[in-house]
């Protein structure tokens, strides 16, 4: 087979795959648009929870999977986004739109401050500092009774009338998730995303090519913080209450496990991980209080048998099959 024919075949195959992917995505979106009309409101609520959590996990994966940084306390940005909206809507007369905008912005600002210190460190030291600073923020939220209502949290947060029904919240979270995933996907495929991967693989080499690795990682950290803040805003729309547990370290551990479960190397891995974990926690919650025990067992199974995550494993298998197909074609 000539090189030109092979290359045009590859291009055609790629186009078919892209079209297939686009078609499947459109069908999926269409189903998600119709679903709330067919299921009880509780399941719409459950799906909206999955959408919110999926956005949170995908934002973490920008730093964890693409950046290779052991970020152990992403939940803090989620919590700050949620608390910002909650405080503005309950303690000020500022408009709803401003609260929704300020949530992610404050999360990104906090991510800048925490990230500025953390990107100077590597590996476990980076992780430990994110954990320490995150817990510091949690302690402030937990203790600052006058502003945050302490361990009671803030409840009955007023939202505009058009967001009071579960179906409107469902469609809002779905829309925000899809737009955010589109933006995050574009970022991972951009020069910024490519450079982030390069810095993950080899920071020393990246520096010697003119890349300011620390600054690059800080930008990724801030972007991830921003989208965690967006997820925090969605949480408030869905629950209309916030509590300090949103910023506690075990929430961050759950998000980390979602990423590991779905697969760090696949863009939609954390979305799958979030869906599985949210559903499992609901099902397990029906039978036992010991959800964390089940989570621990899951983590054990994951680390031992599926280190690349579920979607990572599936993608590896598909890629392997394609390569085998390719080499068979070549031998023929």
């Amino acid at each position: 087979m000539s090189v030109n024919t092979e290359s045009s075949l590859k291009t055609t195959n790629r186009k078919i795959h892209n079209l297939l992917g686009l078609g499947l995505a459109l069908i999926g979106i269409l189903i998600l648009l119709i679903v709330p009309t067919l299921i009880p409101p509780y399941y719409s609520y459950l799906l909206a929870t999955i959408f919110t959590t999926a956005l949170l996990a995908t934002s973490l994966n920008l730093v964890l999977g693409y950046g290779g940084l052991l970020h152990l306390h992403h939940g803090v940005f989620y919590g700050i986004g949620a608390y910002t909206v909650a405080i503005i809507l309950t303690k000020t007369s500022w408009p709803f739109a401003l609260a929704v905008i300020l949530g992610p912005i404050l999360s990104a600002a906090l991510a800048f401050v925490i990230g500025w210190f953390c990107v100077r460190l590597r590996g476990l030291y980076f992780g430990m500092l994110t954990l320490a600073l995150g817990q510091l923020v949690w302690a402030i939220v937990y203790r600052w009774n006058a502003l945050t209502n302490g361990d009671n949290g803030i409840h009955a947060i007023p939202v505009p009338d058009f967001l009071t029904s579960i179906s409107s919240v469902y469609y809002t979270t779905l829309l925000v998730l899809l737009v955010s995933l589109l933006i995050l996907s574009k970022i991972t495929k951009s020069p910024f995303g490519l450079t982030l991967l390069a810095a993950r693989d080899n920071p020393v080499r990246s520096e010697s090519l003119g890349i300011n690795v620390k600054q690059h990682r800080l930008i990724a950290f801030v972007i991830a913080g921003f989208f965690a803040g967006v997820a925090g805003v969605l949480f408030v729309l869905l629950e209309r209450s916030v509590a300090p547990s949103l910023l506690f370290w075990n929430k961050s551990a759950e998000i980390l496990i979602m990423c590991l479960m779905g697969g760090l190397t696949v863009f939609l891995g954390p979305t799958l991980g979030a869906a599985i974990l949210v559903l499992l926690s609901m099902i397990v919650g029906l039978y036992t209080e010991y959800w964390l025990l089940v989570l621990g067992l899951l983590l054990l199974i994951l680390v031992l048998f599926l280190p690349q995550g579920i979607l990572g494993y599936i993608c590896e298998k598909i890629k392997g099959r394609r390569q085998r197909g390719g080499s068979l074609d070549a031998s023929n």
Partner: protein, 247 residues
């Protein structure tokens, strides 16, 4: 082009670079030689900012770069390859070069344009000139050792440096692969006029490609000059090659 004066660097009392002096003229191939532990790699790391000197100065095109960081030094026009293969293992061969090309054009922070459409021609040009274009979609970890070493140099060239530092470019290579690298160095120097500073254990290669040689012994420059002067220098023979004459 590059001037190093009285450079010193120590690690917890061990003087790795005691008094290094070097001048690299534009357009020439200059080699730094010395026995194991002489401080060649340390010197390279000082030039490229991966280490910071205790004292002395490094000037590149009249700019003092002694305290600059590696990414600033790259933007001044110094590129380097490493002794051990230092590539981006999870990226394809194309993406390895493209990362360097994007950084050269300071496009590495573009957030929303698809990377695969940016600076394609320039990336392919680099791949073509190194004979790597047929591997462009391969993961670089799947290449042979020799090809990975060529890719290692190609990545450095992707940032279009004015001065290229090659740290033992033929380390661990077969004679065939070594001769491929020699041809490559000659082409870069003669056809493209690139200034090259290299360290190498293979003295035959050094005397074949270098127009100037600096000898480093225990972190100190003991001689620098034309290859024939170095060959006959008694102090070099004593310190670096024992009593045997340089062949």
């Amino acid at each position: 082009m590059l001037q190093i004066e009285q450079l010193k660097k120590s690690f917890e009392g061990y003087q790795a670079i005691a008094n290094a002096n070097l001048s690299v003229p534009q357009g020439e191939v200059v080699a730094v030689i010395g026995p194991n532990g002489a401080g060649k790699s340390t010197l390279f790391n000082l030039i490229t900012g991966h280490l910071t000197a205790d004292s002395g100065s490094i000037r590149f095109q009249k700019t003092d770069i002694t305290q600059c960081t590696p990414h600033q030094i790259c933007h001044h026009g110094i590129g380097r390859s490493f002794q051990l293969i230092n590539i981006f293992t999870s990226l394809t061969v194309f993406e390895n070069i493209q990362t360097a090309v994007l950084a050269k054009h300071r496009l590495e922070r573009k957030l929303f344009k698809p990377a695969k459409k940016l600076l394609r021609e320039e990336t392919l040009e680099v791949l073509n000139s190194f004979g790597l274009v047929r591997y462009k979609d391969h993961l670089c970890s799947s290449l042979s050792y020799g090809d990975q070493k060529v890719l290692e140099i190609a990545i450095a060239l992707g940032s279009k440096p004015k001065l290229l530092l090659l740290d033992e470019p033929t380390a661990g290579m077969s004679p065939d692969e070594t001769s491929r690298i020699v041809q490559l160095i000659k082409r870069l120097s003669q056809d493209e006029g690139l200034t090259i500073l290299l360290t190498e254990h293979d003295t035959d290669l050094v005397f074949d490609v270098a127009q100037k040689i600096m000898v480093l012994h225990q972190g100190e420059t003991i001689a620098q000059g034309l290859p024939e002067d170095i060959r006959s220098d008694k102090s070099v023979q004593k310190a670096y090659l024992g009593e045997t004459e340089v062949c």
